[in-house]
Subunit: 265 residues, 4 copies
């Protein structure tokens, strides 16, 4: 089974390249998972954008700390369980943190959204909370994808090691920069510290240099603006075998021009 | 001019692979820069290790927040100016933050060690402090390498953009995971968010899983232990042209076996 | 000379009790200093509110991290130098961090707004920056009041000790809770870790329990609402002698009813 | 019932004044609770010091983040349940977070050690975890004392409000500076944001100025040294009525000289 996992889609440029990419490539994948926490102009997600994602072929939307930015989400998450907010927000918080998705061929995949705590808001322990649900997921399927949305590389690697052999893939999001360490761990779990960001790669984490740099120079609040230059899709393709092990993990970091040129060859 | 820049060398396994690598490849480079903040069992640097680095061919040692871990450094930094502690520690702090190094061919290279502030100790502004010294360095050479030791990807990209066109290379260190975004920016500056870590890649940031994972599970202090498995060298090779522009940037992520096998082919 | 220093005024309830207090007591003070960073509904300050403060007798407005919340301030601070933004924002940032104020009797008082860095945004070193301006202030007067807006008690006590004997008073703000440690240090400097907050004392840092508590329970963003219950004025009264030493420091923590009752006795 | 609660005892000077104080006053109290996280030279607690505390009359020892500083504690906490480590460390961590203590008159008091998360290590939610045990404690007694060891005033006030009417007292520790806001909340719960620190009040949070100030000036690590000047005992005395409500809360902030002088009068 081939699963596509796309890193934080930032604003309209990110949504556009995702649309273009899926138009060309959708049929190659059994399941398509997209991190949508920055889809709405960089800050959060809306019902409208979530539905556009479904239309272009997205099966599951994972997220992170920014999922709460648009107020409507708190209500909307109660009914749309294809969007996953991080599992380890306190019990009682709106929405679900994991769900089972079914491929066209009828195979089941458990997808989990999880969030780190180092340099991030204090929430429940991600290691505890994933442990609590893992048995329940494994009863239904051994194909399990965990999007661990976290800042610190140490916490991300620790999660990779902690879940090695128990899930199919642990992929990091949140830093918006792809790491080069994609690999298959000893227990058969695919791992990468960060899949990167889908949006402009000529700004700063998807926003214009002009809107972000002054914040570092002055420590004053600034209003961030979406950047449109050098838009790239970032993510990974993973191959899962019949036991839910990861047999292949490939990084994706492409502009549409590069994609089309590669296909032309 | 070809410059080798090696990411945080962690403990003995890191020092050993660096020795092995330089034995084979040293002659290919005009200048060799190594981040040494974790060279002494993961925590800091000693005079003895610094001198071993010089013996195997290292020209300059950059560093970061861990450079102060071994007390002797505060004194030693006063006389050994081939070690650079981050420039933006307050004025009056022991040691230097930049220096000019000369290649065998007599070319000059300014090397700067700089540290970020997001999720890190509060020190002087890295943007201000690099600006203050840049003119002085540029009077001597346009070949300038900046090791920006920082946690947040946004701060690192901001520094890359800020220095684009003013220095030859901005490379990140500190996260111990190599990023895949090496490139040459519009102004001719080579850039990568993090060059990664030289040491065990089967632990967690160079330490054993067993010594680090409990800290995430319990929040209790644990004593970290150096990991010896799957030791790899991480860094970049950059080519600088006669104007100090970066004409090529290549990521290095190799075990000695891979290196020898590649050379065998 | 008797100086009144009022802690963070929060929203309309805070402004109202300040008005009531000054109506009754203004004539007793030679200089009136108010921290205004939360005066505009809890977040920042406006030109209109600043001018209301001047009308009721306020001489100087100190501030802190929230001073930038209302965008108009960045422009307004350029011309109104009775408002002090923290001195140790980077050079070039709008506004001034200290100024000399004159009492009705013609005596000069230097007032400084300074901000901590522990658990706060990274800005310039407060110890360095106050040192840079102290000589200049002392040329004009030895009466010097420093509002150190900071979170960590250790940083605040460190500043108190650092400035002991060099300024008349170091008073803390930002935590919104008055500390009981007002005293005169060995060098003659009046000191208190935090003067407290002027506004509702039945909420949480001036906001309603209902609007703040859910944030701790869920880690989701919530919109804070000003609380109107149990409004109290918090601050200190300090007596400065002819050498600029603090000869007396008294904590103020009163409701208007308590004030009127005390005056009635 | 009269309960004495003493804030963070720092090193030998803190232990000595506690001994002196209890020699004189012990008989006035039905229960004596001491925060011991800094008793061992400022960093942690040892079995030996805990036993000294029991000898001088201490009934219960609460703690905080520093309780883990001396390695022996992890083992010792397994058997000595008069020491409470913060309840909201993850389940499975050594030691207990609450216990029932009995007064000489046979009355029961539940004592809880709890820790905040804002600007502190990520642990379980203190609001969740206290809620889980409250029923169990209340089955045994309505006399309940909660030491909430936390940095942020907002989190502390939120806990006070959250537990108002459910416990007898919520007192804060950790900042080492006493606040002036001791009061009885609407539901009958005694509250104070911080009871302060028992040790030298002429240093910085109990340590010498000379050993702490350089850290703020240079951001380099320094070795802290216990300060011996102006040693004071800080804490509160609370009166609990037969329903477990707090009928009186008095702040204590005394040197032995002041205590003896007061007794002399
Ligand atoms: Fe994101
Ligand atoms: Fe995020
Ligand atoms: Fe490092
Ligand atoms: Fe580092
Ligand atoms: Fe404030
Ligand atoms: Fe503030
Ligand atoms: Fe403490
Ligand atoms: Fe503490």
């Amino acid at each position: 089974m081939k699963v596509l996992i796309i890193g934080d889609v930032v604003g309209k440029p990110g949504r556009n390249i995702l649309t273009d990419y899926l138009e060309r490539k959708k049929s190659e994948y059994d399941l398509i998972i997209v991190n949508g926490e920055n889809a709405a102009a960089g800050f959060g997600l809306t019902e409208k954008i979530a539905k556009q994602f479904y239309e272009i072929g997205v099966d599951a939307i994972t997220s992170g700390n920014h999922i709460w930015d648009k107020k409507e989400m708190v209500e909307y998450l109660k009914t749309d369980h294809k969007i996953l907010r991080p599992l380890n927000y306190p019990k009682g918080v709106s929405g679900v943190g994991w769900n089972i998705f079914t491929t066209p061929a009828g195979e089941k995949v458990g997808v989990v959204s999880l969030q780190g705590r180092i340099f991030m808001p204090p929430i429940d322990c991600p290691f505890q909370r994933i442990t609590e649900v893992l048995d329940e997921i494994r009863k239904q399927t051994t194909n399990i994808v965990v999007d661990f949305h976290a800042e610190a590389t140490s916490e991300k690697m620790a999660m990779g090691r902690f879940l090695d052999g128990k899930v199919s893939v642990v992929l990091g999001t949140h830093t918006h920069i792809q790491t080069s360490d994609s690999r298959i761990l000893d227990g058969g779990t695919g791992y990468i510290t960060d899949v990167g960001m889908t949006g402009s790669h000529d700004g700063i984490i998807g926003m214009t240099v002009d809107s972000v740099l002054p914040r570092f120079l002055t420590s004053l609040p600034t209003k961030f603006a979406i950047c449109n230059d050098n838009v790239r899709i970032n993510g990974i393709e993973v191959e899962l075998d019949q036991y839910g092990k990861c047999s292949d993990i490939k990084r994706i970091d492409l502009s549409i021009e590069e994609l089309d040129f590669a296909d032309f060859l």
